[in-house]
């Protein structure tokens, strides 16, 4: 009980000893699966994807552990600043962002094309965790008290929608909603929001871009346009289905290798995995993800401070949501929204976000006994 009230942080060595190494191992394992997959996607070559993925993995593992060792209170103090900084970045891309695939999403930093909308998911979790950290349930029940966090969610969602990036916008909204739910917002409010959202659907529909409408329509009936927009889903399902129980063998997935499969190195990486390693391989990866999920939730349950709880739960939900949406997408359960499989798909920002998220989770785990006063002035 002493540690709970002790404001002095434990030493680095202590922290390292406390670190949840099995989680680090799980994360590394998932990253290695991605490496092997990208090696196969390039037809058995390190370039253009596997080597860079591997290097990023190593660098980001170090960053992850480093992030876990930072004082949680420092992160708590910086939460709003981080949120506003990322919001500013979003604003900058909207202004000067490089035109890429017809959408403004990137800031080119030279070595990596930074996608602030990805970072926003973590920033939002941080900001909301801090906001609700100081709130007891009777406050959370007050509608007016919920207004600031709802604005905090809607602001980036609106900006990302404007980019336009429907998939990421929905993801940010989903993470935000999950945070509100975990913080204890009354259930009837979610029902109300869902009702309002449903009523607003026709308006949203009329504001969607053509390609986004096409995606939704294609999802509703992929067979209607088998070679146009439905092509991705159908080819992905064929590849997964063709994998069978045991798969076609590593580097022997004909669908992917013969280039019938689009984007096999990014959003459709899981398809290739499912084709080459079959049902067992695919389920093994799902189990890996579920294991990370369970570790995350156990951290959230054990944490003493409300901030650490919400933080751990938020990043875990975010991580799992990515994986769920990606796999649901490639198996044809939901529309193609362009969400990568964390740590497996090729892509700099996606890897960065996933690993920073894991870093935050580990930090909450290392500091699970640390208590943070309700109001920052007391710090």
């Amino acid at each position: 009980m002493r540690a709970r009230f002790d404001p002095v942080a434990p030493s680095l060595g202590e922290k390292l000893a406390r670190l949840h190494w099995p989680l680090v191992a799980l994360v590394t394992l998932l990253g290695l699966v991605g490496y092997a997959l990208l090696y196969s996607a390039a037809g058995g070559a390190h370039s253009p994807w596997a080597l860079r993925h591997g290097i990023r993995l190593i660098v980001m593992l170090v960053v992850m552990v480093a992030l876990a060792l930072v004082d949680l209170r420092r992160i708590f103090k910086l939460a709003y600043s981080i949120y506003f900084a990322v919001l500013a970045l979003l604003f900058i891309v909207a202004l000067f962002g490089e035109i890429n695939k017809g959408a403004q999403r990137w800031i080119d930093l030279g070595f990596v094309q930074l996608q602030p909308s990805e970072l926003m998911k973590l920033a939002l979790v941080l900001a909301l965790a801090r906001y609700f950290h100081s709130a007891y349930l009777d406050e959370v029940r007050r509608p007016l008290f919920l207004l600031p966090p709802v604005v905090m969610i809607l602001l980036p969602v609106g900006m990302v929608l404007k980019q336009p990036d429907l998939g990421t916008a929905v993801m940010i909204a989903a993470v935000g909603t999950a945070m509100l739910f975990l913080a204890g917002a009354a259930l009837w409010k979610f029902a109300l929001a869902a009702g309002l959202g449903g009523a607003a659907l026709p308006i949203v529909w009329s504001h969607l871009h053509d390609y986004q409408r096409q995606r939704v329509l294609t999802f509703l009936d992929p067979e209607k346009d088998p070679l146009g927009a439905g092509y991705h889903i159908i080819q992905s399902k064929i590849a997964i289905g063709a994998g069978g129980l045991w798969g076609r063998g590593y580097m022997r997935g004909t669908q992917a290798q013969l280039s019938f499969l689009p984007e096999k190195h990014t959003d459709f990486a899981f398809t290739m995995l499912a084709e080459e390693s079959g049902f067992f391989g695919a389920v093994a990866v799902l189990v890996l993800i579920a294991a990370i999920l369970l570790v995350g939730f156990s951290v959230a349950l054990r944490a003493q401070s409300h901030f650490a709880r919400l933080l751990a739960a938020g990043v875990t939900v975010n991580f799992a949501l990515y994986a769920l949406v990606n796999i649901a997408m490639v198996t044809g359960l939901i529309p193609v929204v362009g969400v990568p499989l964390p740590l497996v798909s090729y892509g700099g920002t996606a890897m960065l976000t996933a690993m920073l998220g894991m870093g935050l989770l580990l930090n909450a785990q290392v500091n699970q006994d640390l208590s943070i006063p309700r109001f920052p002035v007391e710090l």
Binding site: V140, F181, T254, F297
Partner: protein, 625 residues
């Protein structure tokens, strides 16, 4: 503290809900994977093996080219071709070698085909040979069982019905090069057998002629065999283009030049700048290029010193010689350094410093006014007025008439020629201008060079009232010909009166008693031609040579003989056509070039009076496809 306990209890409960939901969804995914990979595996495996969907581009027919009266100049003809599919051939080299036993197929071509096969996917057919004869088709068909992977089918081949006659204008098509692939992302270019415009109108208007690819989506099985077409999006056919060329006149020009080793002839409509004929000899047969040119023929064409592949009308740059004198005259008249009637005495040479500049006529011409100086092409008269007005004024006038710049004709590779002035020499040669050079340039020698097209444009601008016509050769899409093109060109800003004096001199050249081209007057009553001869030196004549008359000898090596030039227009009172003829090393403008120009002019006038061809052009065209 109860509040803290309260919210942590609430959080725990809700976390279990969220976590449970996510785990449940993961379970759902496992179920979904089981569905796809275990329950429905067989049907998906079948789909993967047998039903792959392939996109194939359909090649639109290339636009047809017709002359001004609708006669086809470039068409597409059906041809039989033999292709090979790597996947089915198993051992393509063996199959190709077997094929070479029954049809003409050289070792080089086999290597090329094998290279192509390596570059494309195993089920993509690669063309082995086109333009097969019926007999060859039959021979292949009979042996088909011994030739796995060999396909016979028909395609369209570009054909130029008048081959060598229109080669330099129409150009030809050929396989796409790496460089062309790099700067053009049209998917059609990626097709193994696609042909792209390589020269002439085929090249300048390639985009229009090419059309847009259609897309055909076919189901293919694992070995690439097409099972059925799923759907298709029609492409856009290439546009049919009409040229300003008159095929009959073009043929006449080519025939008339045929006995020259190397020569060029351009016929322009003086009011619009439309090119009626553009002949360059020697020529080549563009049909040899479309079916893949043999290496020997290519080398032969490329290494021929008379440059058959080059369109000399726009790429040949010759000293204009005396045909340039109109420009010098106009520069002097406009500057006021000479009047149309003031005279200069010609003793046969002119001295400047310690250099001596000779007139072509050793004894000299005596007293010369402008009209007679042009008619008799007196060099001394033009030395004198060039000296008075200076090179910069001459160059400025020359540029007004189209010298020293590309005229923007819609054919590739037009050369600008060269019109030097003091600035040019200072900047390019880093030397000051010499007075003597003004004299030499004043009679169209020295640094001055021009293309036959530029000479024809100059003539047209002189006789059409001083308007800056520009040459053009494509009237437009056959569906909507731009009739207005070339009309109302801007005025050059040269005084009408001065132009008329110069034209009078040109009239005397052909029709005057002492004119240099009086032997080439038109044999027509009441229709007169005006022109100007030119004989331009290829090399400097040394004093010793001049003394013994070596520069006039017939036995000089060909490449040292003078170029023969003639420019003319007709009818004198109501100009319609301008003709420029250059005969390389033809020795004498009056004796070699002028008679050719006269005959071409006669033919142009004759065809002009013939009734304009009906709109039947479109019909002839459809058959041409």
């Amino acid at each position: 503290m109860y509040q803290e306990a309260d919210r942590s209890r609430c959080f725990r409960r809700r976390l279990l809900v969220v976590g449970g939901a996510q785990l449940a969804l993961m379970g759902g995914l496992v179920w979904r994977l089981w569905q796809l990979q275990v329950r429905d595996h067989e049907s998906y495996a079948l789909l993967a093996e047998e039903n792959r969907i392939n996109q194939r581009l359909t090649v639109p027919p290339r636009g047809v080219l017709v002359d001004r009266r609708g006669r086809p100049l470039a068409v597409n003809v059906p041809t039989y071709r033999v292709r090979i599919v790597r996947e089915q051939a198993k051992d393509p080299r063996r199959v190709l070698e077997a094929l070479a036993q029954i049809i003409t197929l050289d070792e080089r071509r086999i290597e090329e085909v094998l290279e192509q096969l390596r570059l494309h996917r195993p089920f993509v057919p690669v063309t082995v040979r086109e333009d097969l004869s019926w007999e060859e088709v039959a021979r292949i068909a009979v042996r088909a069982p011994e030739l796995p992977g060999i396909l016979l089918d028909s395609g369209l081949l570009r054909r130029y019905p008048h081959g060598p006659v229109t080669a330099h204008v129409v150009g030809y098509v050929g396989p796409v090069s790496q460089a062309e692939l790099a700067r053009d992302d049209d998917p059609l270019l990626r097709l193994p057998d696609f042909r792209i415009g390589k020269s002439g109108v085929e090249r300048t208007y390639d985009r229009e002629l090419r059309g847009r690819a259609g897309l055909s989506r076919v189901e293919v099985n694992a070995v690439g065999r097409e099972i059925r077409e799923v759907d298709r999006r029609e492409g856009e056919e290439g546009a049919d283009l009409q040229l300003t060329i008159d095929l009959e006149l073009q043929r006449f020009c080519m025939d008339r030049l045929a006995d020259q080793e190397a020569a060029a002839c351009v016929v322009l409509e003086v009011s619009t700048g439309a090119v009626l004929a553009m002949a360059s000899v020697p020529t080549y047969d563009p049909n040899a290029f479309t079916g893949g040119l043999s290496a020997t023929l290519w080398r032969q064409l490329a290494n021929d010193p008379r440059h058959p592949l080059v369109n000399k009308c726009i790429r040949g740059q010759y000293p204009p010689g005396s045909t340039f004198k109109m420009i010098t005259a106009l520069a002097a008249l406009e500057a006021g350094v000479v009047t149309p009637t003031s005279e200069v005495f010609c003793p046969g040479h002119m001295s400047l410093g310690n250099a001596r500049f000779h007139c072509w006529r050793p004894g000299g011409h005596g007293r010369m006014g402008l009209v007679q100086a042009l008619a008799q092409s007196c060099d001394v008269y033009f030395y004198e007025i060039a000296r008075r007005v200076g090179i910069d004024a001459i160059a400025a006038m020359a540029r007004k008439f189209g010298f020293g710049e590309r005229l923007g004709l819609d054919l590739p590779g037009e050369m600008p020629g060269l019109m030097p002035d003091t600035k040019w020499k200072r900047e390019r040669l880093k030397q000051p201008w010499q007075k003597g050079e003004t004299l030499v340039c004043g009679i169209g020698q020295g640094f001055v060079t021009a293309t036959p097209l530029q000479l024809a444009v100059m003539t047209a601008r002189l006789c059409n009232g001083g308007r800056a016509v520009r040459p053009w050769i494509v009237r437009g899409h056959l569906a909507h010909v731009q009739e207005g093109r070339g009309l109302a060109p801007p005025p050059l800003g040269v005084r009408r009166e001065h132009l008329e004096w110069v034209l009078k001199g040109m009239f005397e050249v052909v029709n005057g008693p002492r004119g240099t081209a009086k032997a080439s007057a038109l044999p027509l009553a009441g229709v007169f031609m005006a022109g100007k001869t030119g004989t331009s030196q290829v090399r400097r004549i040394t004093r010793a040579e001049r003394a013994i008359g070596a520069h006039k000898r017939k036995d000089r090596p060909r490449e040292e003989r003078d170029h023969a030039l003639f420019v003319c227009y007709a009818p004198y009172d109501r100009p319609r056509f301008a003709v420029a003829v250059v005969v390389e090393h033809g020795e004498s403008g009056a004796k070699t070039a002028a008679p050719i120009a006269r005959d071409v002019m006669l033919e142009a006038l004759r065809l002009d009076s013939a009734p304009e061809a009906p709109t039947g052009g479109r019909l002839a065209l459809v058959e041409g496809r």
